[in-house]
């Protein structure tokens, strides 16, 4: 195991975060806070409680998930895409590191950033809306599992993308709509039966539902199902990354 390499890449990536702190931490915190202000404090008071939870508090887990997903993907995809774009990837490819170590370092750094961000957003939310966390261990587990899984997903996008447009495509066109429609702002029980069934094909539903359960003990789907689905997505991502490195897909000719 080349621990020095893992450390070097990890610190390099974290250093990049601090260098771009406006973009990587402050701007997502501000944009998410706007939701708390608008839906939590301003409009939230006029919306009835959902499953015994005030609307402002109800949307917190979903909004944290939204930031966690988009930021994990963008951190990790940019982290690996940029060296490909500038050409500095030659060094990574010629270094005595295994693909496993590369993934650990890049995904570890991207997930760390998202977790830090998630915690900051939660702390910010507590300023605007009253909230509680019933199952802190499950909450942390979901936070970490989601950050790692979606950083891995972002890493895959970063390798796959051959232009900045593709890099933005998946987060904007797929992940954001799935998160908005995945029950960030409503319980899927509020949907007509047909749309509820359709929604169950949206993987983000399971993340938000499970995460919300860890806060208030209420969920759209069973917590076990949520964890299971997240684990399945994690395994699928691991298999794809493995295949990419084995074949040198878009990395080596």
């Amino acid at each position: 195991m080349n621990l020095y390499a893992i450390r070097a890449i990890y610190l390099f990536e974290m250093h990049r975060t601090w260098r771009t702190i406006m973009q990587s931490i402050i701007s997502p915190v501000i944009s998410t806070s706007l939701y708390f202000v608008v839906f939590g404090s301003a409009i939230g008071g006029r919306i009835p409680e959902i499953n015994g939870v005030s609307y402002g508090a109800f949307i917190v887990p979903g909004l944290v998930m939204l930031s966690l997903l988009t930021q994990s993907i963008s951190n990790a995809s940019f982290g690996i895409y940029f060296p490909k774009f500038t050409g500095t990837i030659y060094e990574l490819l010629s270094a005595p590191v295994s693909y496993f170590e590369i993934v650990i370092a890049y995904v570890g750094a991207a997930a760390s950033k998202s977790i830090i961000l998630g915690v900051i957003i939660l702390a910010t939310a507590a300023l605007f809306v009253p909230m509680r966390i019933d199952h802190p261990f499950v909450m942390v587990l979901f936070l970490v599992l989601t950050a790692v899984t979606f950083s891995l997903f972002g890493f895959i996008i970063g390798i796959w993308a051959d232009g900045f447009e593709k890099l933005q495509l998946v987060p904007l066109m797929i992940v954001t709509p799935l998160t908005f429609l995945g029950g960030s702002f409503y319980s899927i029980d509020m949907l007509p039966p047909f749309w509820r069934t359709v929604t169950l094909f949206n993987p983000v539903v399971y993340l938000i539902s499970g995460f919300r359960w860890s806060f208030y003990g209420v969920s759209d789907v069973h917590i076990g199902t949520s964890l299971g689905m997240t684990a399945v997505f994690l395994v699928v991502c691991i298999l794809i990354v493995r295949w990419m490195f084995k074949t040198g897909y878009r990395l080596k000719s």
Binding site: A8, T86, L92, P96, K252, S253
Partner: protein, 308 residues
């Protein structure tokens, strides 16, 4: 003892069907400076990239200090440092950080003293806290060399190290290369500048259209280059060379207007004076005299042309 680099039966065909390398067999000795010459698109960079693990070989084996670069990539790559042709660096990092990063990436514990030594040797020390984006092209090239040297490699690849580099940097760079060789590092470089290969290399290899067409000791090559030609423009056309001049081994051009005398410029007696006397005696008049030395460049161009 195994070779520093040993390439056998290496082929590389790109996805497009382009055969970049055809049956490459090459042994680089420990501690030598090996210059790989070849025109653009000959396969120099592909060969280096394949050895360093950036391009997958189609078939064949490559050993770095006895370690297979695919099966035993960790041991093999730890020994290798690469300075690629393109100036690709992390624009927003500082010189110190990027060089330290490279050392870690290659599995070495941090060693500020070593990094300091490299940066000083490459006259980068003043710039250690500068962001790379603020540096000139020549300085960036030095940063890339510093990165490649950060993990104390035993084998160093320099792909066109002096392309687009000013005279001062070239001189600095060759001083560094010489010092590295003194310390036992094996160096493989590609270049367009033939005089550079002449000055620096122990052995020279020529690659053209994906094939190695010549590998020769530089001194051996220079000896054959030591031959000079004296060309005499004759006043009259001659059908044959006069018998009195037979001992000089002269050559008469097909037009009969020019005589060519080959001699070794390194010898004490080139025989030119005697030849001119004898020409006078034999009554062969001439209008003009020319001497000419074939350069490595010419040999190289001829070699490449023969292959076409």
């Amino acid at each position: 003892m195994s070779s520093a680099i040993s390439v056998s039966n290496l082929y590389k065909t790109y996805g497009s069907g382009f055969e970049a390398l055809k049956n490459i067999n090459l042994d680089i000795h420990h501690g030598e400076i090996f210059a790989l010459l070849g025109p653009n698109g000959a396969g120099k960079t592909t060969l280096i990239s394949t050895i360093c693990g950036i391009v997958n070989p189609t078939s064949g084996t490559i050993l770095a200090d006895g370690h297979d670069i695919l099966k035993d990539y960790r041991a093999a790559r730890t020994k290798i440092g690469l300075v690629p042709q393109e100036l690709t660096t992390d624009a927003f990092e500082t010189v110190w950080n990027t060089v330290s990063f490279s050392r870690g990436l290659f599995g070495k514990p941090s060693n500020p003293a070593h990094i300091e030594k490299i940066l000083k040797e490459l006259t980068l020390w003043d710039k250690k806290d500068n962001k790379i984006i603020t540096l000139s092209g020549g300085m960036k090239r030095r940063v890339m060399i510093a990165k490649a040297l950060s993990h104390e490699p035993e084998i160093l690849f320099l792909d066109e190290p002096t392309a687009g580099v000013d005279v001062e940097l070239r001189r600095d760079m060759w001083n560094v290369v010489r010092a590295l060789r003194e310390s036992g590092v094996t160096i493989i470089l590609t270049t367009h500048y033939i005089e550079e290969a002449e000055q620096m290399a122990d052995r020279i290899g020529v690659i053209s259209k994906g094939e190695i067409i010549l590998i020769e000791e530089k001194n051996e090559l220079m000896r054959s280059l030591g031959k000079k030609q004296l060309r005499l423009q004759l006043q009259e056309e001659h059908k044959t060379i006069p018998a009195a001049l037979a001992k000089y081994g002269l050559e008469l051009t097909p037009s009969g207007c020019e005589l060519i005398y080959s001699y070794d410029a390194h010898e004490d007696k080139t025989g030119i004076a005697a030849l001119l006397k004898d020409l006078d005696k034999a009554g062969v008049g001439f209008n003009d005299i020319q001497t000419k030395q074939s350069s490595l460049e010419e040999i190289f161009v001829n070699l490449v042309r023969e292959r076409k």
